[in-house]
Symmetry: C2
Subunit: 210 residues, 2 copies
DNA sequence: ATTTTTTGCGACATTGATGTGTCAAACTAG
DNA sequence: CTAGTTTGACACATCAATGTCGCAAAAAAT
């Protein structure tokens, strides 16, 4: 009886989108994440290619570029939430918590790369804008500073920035071939020293303007 | 007698491009740097607007988008070179040298932002690719490690990454309104601790996979 | 004041990315 | 096997960014 239009795999009805359709949809989203992480300005055609589907198929599942971006956004949100959960931020020392979080984030691969992509196509909650994410961090940092694990001279905001930025560095290193283990060790070591208690070894020289 | 074509402000001859033309050209390059630092995908029209010139004027000075980009690249190269020179990397402690370099870089403003822009329109020598720049850094770091100023457990590569990445953080903080002074102090403190000698305060807990 | 240079405006042609639609072939489920 | 679903290959129409031109007005140089 559905003689209306020709073929619409994913009718907007309440019907489940059918397993095949679901599978293709996921495939495309995955390809999009992978592709856009490398090149935020990637074409829909490029994304389709990366997923080994035709551009028309892509358009069949996502009417709009914005539609696809929204789906990616949603997917990233979910995976980030999982990572945060797996990091068990409430348990143990603050520094260890941050360490676990960094490791989990690093494990996200391209999804993390998407967050770092400059004009993040994904959306709003990146860097300074990510309120929810940073509030979670704030709590841990506060705990750390009260427990004298984290340098009281460094502002919480700066600790957060340092966290993200060193995570970025780790991601870059990982992408350029450094072993997962080395990345993990070096990141952990430098981050702990950076935000941990204690004074810098060498004093800064009083500086005249250049 | 020059009745050939109508108007060509910048004849490809050996004649000096005339002061006015030079001035406009500089103006456009400056506007382009400013604009592209904020949005790497900015339109030529947007750039022209930012410089208060018409799009046709922009095209008159730069036939191509690539032409403009090359000019920007050149300009950035020059300013970076000045910054490096001003940092006097050969003098004093390694950490102080790196500190000065960071301060100088930070003073570059939008030019620095351009380097951080993801698909840096500026060109190749960004992050991992910047060989020349990183070799300069390598020398200082080596000096630092031999003088026991820099943590021997942290690989030079990682020190470089940390340097750039924390500079990035500082740039972000500066852009989001943090005072120049605070940025300077916090960056200096955390960077020194991060790559300086000494063990992390709290030991990392042996980690099982999640 | 006059000549020369430089700029702004508007008209085009071109190109690449998008979005829509159609149909036949491939695939899947029953 | 058969009916329904999903996909690939084309064919268009749009749209925005580019790049080119010609001319008149504005600015600079003389």
């Amino acid at each position: 009886m559905v003689t209306a239009t020709y073929n619409r795999p994913m009718p907007r009805t309440n019907t489940d989108p059918s397993p095949t359709a679901r599978r293709t949809r996921r495939l495309i989203v995955e390809a999009a994440i992978e592709t856009l992480a490398g090149n935020p300005a990637a074409t829909l055609a490029e994304i389709a290619d990366a997923g080994d589907v035709s551009r028309s198929t892509l358009h069949r599942h996502f009417t709009d570029r914005g539609d696809l971006l929204a789906a990616i956004d949603e997917e990233c949100r979910i995976r980030f939430a999982h990572a945060v959960e797996a990091a068990r931020l409430g348990e143990g020392d603050a520094l260890n918590s941050l360490d676990r979080l960094a490791q989990e984030y690093l494990g996200l691969g391209s999804v993390l790369g998407l967050v770092f992509a400059d004009n993040a196509p994904v959306d709003p909650d990146v860097w300074e804008d990510s309120e929810e994410r940073d509030q979670t961090l704030s709590a841990v940092i506060q705990r750390g500073q009260q427990g004298h694990e984290i340098d009281p001279e460094v502002s919480p905001t700066w600790v957060i920035t340092t966290f993200w930025v060193m995570l970025f560095g780790a991601w870059l290193a990982q992408k350029s071939g450094m072993s997962r283990r080395d990345v993990s060790v070096q990141l952990s070591r430098t981050f702990r020293k950076a935000v941990g208690p204690g004074d810098p070894a060498a004093r800064r020289e009083p500086e005249g303007r250049g």
